[in-house]
Symmetry: D2
Subunit: 507 residues, 4 copies
């Protein structure tokens, strides 16, 4: 923070980051997007679609609909808490709507950042919802402010809106495309104007976006499971670099037009979508997520097999991989850990002394399954290691004779800049320790990770193409697919956040 | 309702009972109870214990603690929403505390009925928490009101409190026992006075209650999983008809004394606890719940086996039985149905037209697993059949070639009066239809239920003792273990509810 | 408080009582009551009537209506905040209703004590609202609890309800009268059953109660201004010791019957009602309150006249007396102090340092009127003196040359036990100081009080009848009109409060 | 509204505007502003100052403070409800702060419009609070949006902020002055940057602004009563067209510099400030408001005197004029109407039938004073006449023999565009009727208004200078002091409102 810019400041990590991760030591997706054009009850369909994308973000949600005027509601909290009433068609009327669901951070949550963002531009209203992260947002923001733009939020998405507002092109789509040429990073966008719905995916398709159809009305969604939720048919995946526009043609028929404003490049989707984020019943880029995860478990068993009595998943993240591991190894699959589904947003805070006795708010040991057994715990990943360590200790206290830990993805060593919430490098266990050090730290008899090659095999690839990798996999490999402008300007290891005044009252 | 008693009225069923059951067509336990005596931070331990019993009731929760004065907080909602703060030892100070968690009904929920109930009696304060249901509550209430008692709640539990208040015995325990002699039905009670904690279980032990120990402090809880939650040791099950009193002896040492005020009878615990209510990691009356449920699935496969490609559990209730079924049948176990964990207390309400397209808020089909397959769906029970029917339809729409449904418990034909929330007989599918009619109604290729004998086998018994059944199993057999006074007076098939004025503002 | 009754405790004074009184250093009335029988929209009329009695209590309010069932809503806060909607006839339907409004204390406010209280008795539902205070409530409560009654509230009013519940008389009215024979102190009661509305006033009529009529429907209200609010005619004052019952006769016609269960005694209404509590537009016991207050000012001028330039009221309490004072003295009446009407229930808390500079949240000096003048400040009373002292200082800082203070009532030296909220004797300025000490403490050039004889003159009496005083005037004279049983048992100078557990969540 | 701008729409009048005005049929001031620079606890002083300006607006309030970073809180509701805590210096730390309080409209209230507005500009943060109204806001907004500005609010004040953001001047003050050159209408502005506090008043000083001093720290406030509230000294009135800048000089000493960027013009303050808006204890432009209002009453008596028994003010607005009227006429002044102070933001809604009986929620008749009397009612003005008519009817029903109505200001015939909330011309009684028609419509025996000349006399002027009037008095004369650009573009008689999407959730 410099004297000239008193309102800029670094985003603070929570006082004790351990707390944040205690209950869910996983990378987290930032968002899900959804849109529907030309259908009755568009806002109801959008609410249902967002509900189907709820696993992609639980911090906040919003819907914009259009019926000659734009209508907007945004909330902190779950879709079902706010968009559940029979009054939805009255609150958010119209035949087109877009929506957004956003992940839960601790602390910095403010309503102003909840999307869709909306602006009343010279050409009319424009609403936009964004999944992903721009890698040059800070740079863009500073240039825009120099030229007189006033930002309402700290969201990188607002840069896109401000760029569109400044564009001198005559048509909205051309303004939108002009703005895309200025931004870098990962994005799947859904936008709404008074006459069209627009979808766009970044040039290498880091974040997913699919096109569906429900009784002739086009649907855009982050995942296919949102289409299933509303009984829509899957049409196709939006291609990397594609801008797709749905509007009504001369005779009132809905038309869908594709634009490819960038030189065509090979797709490089984020491999995390398959490893963690997508729902197992989604099909992403023609691959069944559930099947991939079982294959990861199967290959993991082959690469890191061990003599044992039971295969126990860390629920729910490790379930499909543990099933695959059990099938490949022939060792019985048992629910040795029970998850408590009633853990909400606030947590009971026992004192340290009580905590040390083995309090487990989210997971409980199924003692009968573990006692005297050689146990293989299977999870999808290890991030900070804090939760894994506690689970291992709980399993040991329940009487396990041996505890082996297996991660169905490779060691995570590098930070993300494309919309995934991960701890800083200094907190990534695999970035700071050798495998043997990790084994000791977790307190297990053996520790194994799926190899990068194994992961690619699970994805159905023969091998990773080192020249031109099929996936965005930098967390495992350090190989970033785009320039990192903001990051290279600021070497703190964590990007700065711009902050407007938070309206404490309203948010 | 008669002219003389204008404030008494029948408890109304919700306008469209289908709505109530759409999302969770299961019998529901009414409550969990917990108590701790003589430990620092008693209220924190109680909050943790109740959190571990949250599956037994999500409607409301309350804690009473004692530190020379009684302190009380009761809420609608989850334990973690209200008893999570670091300020618990200030809000609810003291070395002893009891708590209660209560199930979620739609509509009739009022704060006055949330427990523990408390009264300032002539001998001092008295707090009580109750799991179960009295079968002569209406009769007792009328007699008490005739004699000048003013009721605060519509809860049957208040009868116990009013009886204690009226007792002329000199000692609190004797008053308590005198009250027990007047009540009939099912109860596991935990009570707190200024000098002792009391536990009691009805003469045949219908509802569960266990004794634990945490660093010398006695614990009472509905299930062992609540002991695990706070790192307490399991000591023993409270016996049917036992009244156990924890207090400080002459030298300040905690003493535990047992009373058996009733003639000793053989235990007859409710078999529903094993089939549905208890957490799989609990051990009830020396039996592992998880293991019993897998055995139910195994026996179910033997009794109702069918040729198929995949065994698919209805999550989460059918998971252990499906694992047992798959193991016994050798057919692969697959997660063909994905549960959406973000379904909260309010639900998105699509219009009928949208609903008909196959909207699934709570469950989604994992299409890849089901397509073209012969599928065996395994659930723990069928109650009204509404949810089962929807799931079958969803599985068919996902492309299953055949759908077979298997219930890991026998047909439910008879109502409950001991604290389980079940629909009226007219809504119990198995009470109204033959198996073949049910099969057609559910739209499945075959339908099978576990036999009563099979259920007893899964429980580790050789056979059901018809003279003197080992379990309370009336829902399957019609064999009720106690008189049903209120019910025989009122033949509506559903017991009447007494209602004080609801304070709309406060509750 | 004894060891056996740990839940009884003394009601604590607020930590710094000065804060409590800073903004309103006045005695405060405890309640207003209202009832209507046999009129459409009874709850709407009751809400309006309570709004007209809002000056008698701003802490909480409640309404019970009856339409074949009893309906009840109680709230903390103002009538207009809770009973304002067009949905009132749906929320609280029926042709009869009673209501209550209650004064604002700091701290001990709990919803359980908000009235009307209701109980479901053997003879049917019974609702009751009480203005006044019982002087043997503690004694009664202890006896009732010994005999098995469980109290829901800490209110003395509940004793009446419990006595009625215990009565063995056959008719509700007889039970009610039996209960009245057990209670002592001040009361104006309005009650509602399924067939009648009952009103009652204590044997000497300490608290007021009037009968009105609106299109044939009888109305009961604390003051006539509540009748004006709903366009009802004033019929007569309820007599001391009268029990009046409105019900429907054989042919459905409304009948009003009076009972006089006590030996008839001379009325002795509380003189505070005239001095402070009643609204100036009310007529109490045939006397215009506004006129009495102007007469108090006129006589005050005669008794304590002084040479001055302006007469300035302390708004709003001192306004009529100041007008009378000005008229009698011939000195101009000017608004030298402006009251800020936007002072709500929370107050801005400046630091001591800022406060010392002369911050005035509730009153401001109208400098132009005061500068260089000899000012007579007129208020209706002096209680603790804290506010008076601040106002004097403010007037001096605005440039007044002389400040004379006049109280339009005699010095207050004795506590109240009949429903008026006054500070303890130790905080009553006139109980602790001589007039000269008070003058110095307030910092005024002269100080004068109306004499007791002057007060009686203003009331239209020739003189106070010392044998048999016409009014309850103990605050000035120490002459209490009833025995003080609880008080004589407990010599703390402030009566003990019984406390049930406070449900922190609900209240 | 045109097809291209679907998000622009006209501000709707409430469905039944009568409801809006029932309780307060007065013109209403839009805002109060306050600022303090270089004092400890600046936000506490600002809260106190705003509390003292609460009569200028009760809709919303906000404070921005600066302590190296900007802090902002804005709320709907009263100052004392939101800025009352002892935690203010922590919530809003710093040695400088500005604040705003805003009037209450029904319906269109949204938090986004509550001020101060803030923007993070290229030169640093900038906060601004505005009292007044711009007459070219719509035109400015359209031009700014064309050039890429995105508006956050529908407030005209945001135009000023956007103009500053766009300015290319090097210094903040120069940017501010450049923006002032683009705006037209009425404004008193207080702004805060990281190094200075700025105050500004429009070229003819329509809205008031004064400079005070509290222990060396400069204060800006709409009225002197806000200075009194915090014990600050009045220094001087900010001159029309003056821009005053407080900052720290080289040695850290606070310096105040004045700029006069416009050609100097004669002041023409809004006469409504004296007639209605200012608190009686304020001194505006060297005139005591209380004294002016009494003079208005005195002159009114001379111009419109009538034989009568009592002079009765319509409280509280008519009080000083009624005192003046009584003094001049020698007829006694009596409180014949009592105001109910507990009328809050929601109102009890009696049905039409009940209403017709004479329900009076806000005012009650003091029957004793009115009965059989010839009554002169004195109010400060008549706007729509609805409240006046009800009061007249109430006074008649209380038994008045004659009712004469006197308005202490001339007939209001013309709309306002400078920040006063008045009904449309079609609803202004004096714009639609002759005096005799008004008399009949109000149902009075005689009706009289103060003349324009009389009003100027009360202000201390010899006569109105028709060439160059001393005051902005268009409501009475139709003589507008500035061009009305937006109005002349839109002849609807009521200016259009620009509306962004309302975030229903947040606001």
């Amino acid at each position: 923070m410099t004297a000239e810019r008193p309102s800029l400041h670094f985003h603070q990590a929570p006082a004790d980051p351990a707390d944040k991760w205690e209950f869910d030591d996983k990378p987290r997706e930032e968002c899900g997007v959804f849109g529907v054009f030309g259908s009755e009850d568009a806002s109801v369909l959008t609410a249902l679609g967002l509900h189907g994308l709820q696993h992609r973000g639980q911090e906040g949600c919003g819907i914009v609909s259009y019926d000659g005027r734009f209508h907007n509601e945004r909330y902190l909290g779950l879709v079902g808490e706010h968009f559940a009433g029979a009054d939805m068609p009255v609150r958010l009327p119209g035949n087109s709507a877009i929506g957004h669901t956003r992940y839960a951070t601790s602390g910095g949550t403010i309503l102003r950042n909840v999307q869709p963002l909306f602006a009343d531009l010279a050409l009319g209203g424009f609403a936009i919802a964004h999944n992903g992260n721009l890698t040059n947002a800070r740079d863009l923001r500073e240039r825009l402010v120099e030229n007189g733009s006033i930002f309402q939020s700290t969201s990188d998405t607002e840069c896109i809106l401000q760029l569109i507002a400044k564009s001198k092109k005559a048509r909205v789509v051309d303004r939108f495309v002009e703005a895309l040429h200025d931004i870098q990073g990962a994005y799947a966008l859904v936008a709404l104007t008074d006459t069209m719905m627009i979808g766009a995916r970044d040039p290498i398709g880091i974040r997913p976006l699919v096109l569906g159809d429900r009784e002739g009305a086009p649907i855009l969604a982050s995942e296919t499971c949102a289409l299933d939720m509303i009984g829509a048919k899957f049409v196709r995946t939006i291609e990397p670099g594609e801008v797709v526009v749905a509007s009504r043609g001369k005779l009132g028929k809905i038309e869908i037009v594709s634009h490819f404003p960038f030189p065509r490049r090979k797709a490089r989707p984020c491999i995390f979508e398959f490893v963690y984020f997508c729902r197992p019943d989604s099909v992403v880029d023609e691959r069944s997520v559930y099947d991939i995860r079982k294959r990861m478990g199967r290959r993991l068993a082959e690469e890191t097999g061990v003599e044992a009595d039971v295969i126990v998943p860390v629920p729910d993240s490790g379930v499909p991989a543990a099933m695959g591991f059990a099938a490949a190894s022939g060792i019985p699959y048992e629910l040795g850990i029970i998850r408590n589904h009633y853990v909400g947003r606030t947590f009971i805070q026992p004192k340290q002394e009580i905590r040390a006795l083995g309090v487990r708010l989210k997971h409980s040991a199924n003692r009968d399954v573990l006692k005297g057994k050689r146990v293989v715990l299977v999870d999808d990943s290890i991030v900070r290691g804090t939760t894994s360590r506690k689970i291992v200790q709980m399993v040991r206290e329940a009487g396990a004779k041996e505890v082996h830990f297996r991660s169905a993805s490779p060691p995570i060593k590098h930070p993300d800049f494309y919309g995934i919430d991960m701890p800083a490098v200094a907190e990534l266990m695999a970035a700071q320790m050798t495998i043997e050090e990790m084994r000791k730290s977790l307190g297990v008899d053996s520790l194994g990770f799926l190899s990068v090659e194994g992961l690619y095999w699970a994805m159905g690839e023969n091998a990773r193409n080192a020249e031109n990798p099929q996936f965005t996999d930098h967390a495992f490999t350090g190989d970033y697919p785009t320039p990192l402008l903001d990051h290279s300007r600021d070497q703190s290891g964590r990007d700065v956040q711009l902050s407007l005044l938070a309206d404490k009252a309203a948010e």
